[in-house]
Symmetry: C2
Subunit: 265 residues, 2 copies
DNA sequence: AAAATAAGTTTCACATATTGGAACCTGCAA
DNA sequence: TTGCAGGTTCCAATATGTGAAACTTATTTT
């Protein structure tokens, strides 16, 4: 598959372990891996000594390792968008009192990188970090609409176009029309296209150069509101998204000199 | 070094990029990497195609990739301790109104996996994920005290014993005494051993079998309180830690059958 | 504008790490 | 004892990775 040399294979194994929602045994992994027993065994060993995986000798199971958590912390922290956007998410969340999502494109999918929930703010790890489809979510469509046209065919061809609901857009051509509409309007809706009863408004977050950095959305239910009312929030959301976009663009590393790299033990 | 074949080198490079707090150029990385130009170049390319790193062609810089964020989500989510402990951290945080830390041992260091801050609860990624020394933090000492004796010499020999403050414990022998004291008392203090003015109480989180799962601490400042007052919190913290330990132990995977692995696109 | 320098990329003969079939250990059940 | 499944190790064949050096851009300097 994606196998780019040994590293690619090792990372595949990492994904495999991550895919199980629980500690996995060697034989579980073997059954779901394309690699022969000895090869998988060695890959696992390597990952364990690298502390990307942890091996529990009592139960002889593999789980994801703490080095991953450390790397991930760094990943989130130095992604330009998420840390900058956070205070703005707080503001928006407080103002609208509805679920707020921050997402980025990952491959051809949507990756939720942060989230706010009205009543009790849910710490991000729990809910963010998940991936979702691009073609039937508000944030996905908002980003697609502002992507360079050259990239679109490639990305659209990777969508699964599964009809989650009767309103799901299920073809690239229909999507192209929708995207034109979104560009004209400046924001995107999700009109129960992914889950029945769930609707949202989403706006893209653009760099000052116009590049898509991510998307911001406010989600609610048809029981509580409707698209018309959500649309009224769009100017405010757009304003916040523009601020985030500008701050992120400006946060362009003013040529550090010192090397703040971790010292080796 | 840690170099376990190609995978080890690739992960070293990943750490290197993570070590910079900002997007890094090829030459920056080259200057701080033990690998020759061509080798580093290829490793970077591999990591980029694997989406563990992202390359920005405009500025020709490398940053950590989104695949890492996804993996990290899974890592945190299926680590037995952190998700189970979260609601308890919320409770403790609300009760004591001080900073609360949840930590685990990583190698011979302390990894903070979750955190609560009194005023505005800070979502974990931002502040947690950091590593700290074991020998001069409350959580570190609490865990050391309950580790199997056989593991102790190895771990203690890896401590740097840097005297952050005048009160820092700076030798393995002194630490052994301190650990005996901690076991007798059932909880650990950090008496300004890491940062002046910062004090904390910490208790270990143990499985019902007695294995160290992590540690829980409440941190404050000498300006606001003192060790005596912090000690009064110990019974409550211990109680919560015991609950977390029990729940974590009980949450022992009841032999799943189906394979809930992510489908490949 | 030309020359000099630096930054990034590719090449290729060579060394090494990876491969995976098969043999080999366990522990456990019949 | 035998059988068997999960797990671990071997080792020759070979695919992969290596890195000095050559080569292309960019970016200065003269």
């Amino acid at each position: 598959m994606s196998g780019d040399g040994t590293v690619g294979k090792a990372l595949d194994v990492l994904d495999l372990v991550a895919g199980f929602g629980h500690p996995a045994r060697f034989s579980d992994l073997l059954a779901h891996s394309p690699y022969p027993k000895a090869t998988l065994y060695r890959l696992l060993q390597t990952l364990v000594t690298q502390r990307m995986l942890a091996f529990n000798p009592d139960r002889s199971t593999y789980t994801l390792g703490l080095r991953l958590v450390r790397l991930a912390h760094a990943a989130w922290d130095q992604s330009a968008l998420a840390p900058i956007a956070r205070p703005h998410l707080d503001v928006l969340s407080a103002e609208v009192g509805e679920t707020v999502h921050l997402a980025q494109m990952d491959h051809a999918q949507v990756l939720y990188v942060d989230k706010r929930n009205a009543r009790d703010p849910i710490p991000m790890y729990s809910q963010a970090g998940k991936v979702g489809p691009a073609y039937c979510t508000g944030v996905g469509k908002a980003m697609l609409a502002y992507l360079p046209e050259a990239n679109l065919p490639g990305i659209l061809s990777q969508q699964s176009w599964h009809a989650f609901t009767a309103k799901t857009i299920t073809s690239a051509t229909a999507m192209m029309q929708e995207l034109t509409l979104i560009r004209a309007r400046g924001f995107a809706f999700d009109d129960e296209e992914h889950e029945p009863g769930i609707i949202c408004v989403a706006v893209p977050i653009l760099s000052t150069g116009g590049a898509v950095l991510g998307a911001l959305s406010v989600t609610s239910t048809t029981a509580r509101t409707n698209l018309g009312k959500l649309a009224e929030l769009a100017p405010r959301i757009t304003q916040i998204a523009r601020t985030i976009g500008q701050e992120t663009t400006n946060w362009r590393f003013p040529e550090e000199t010192a090397h703040p790299n971790r010292e080796r033990a």
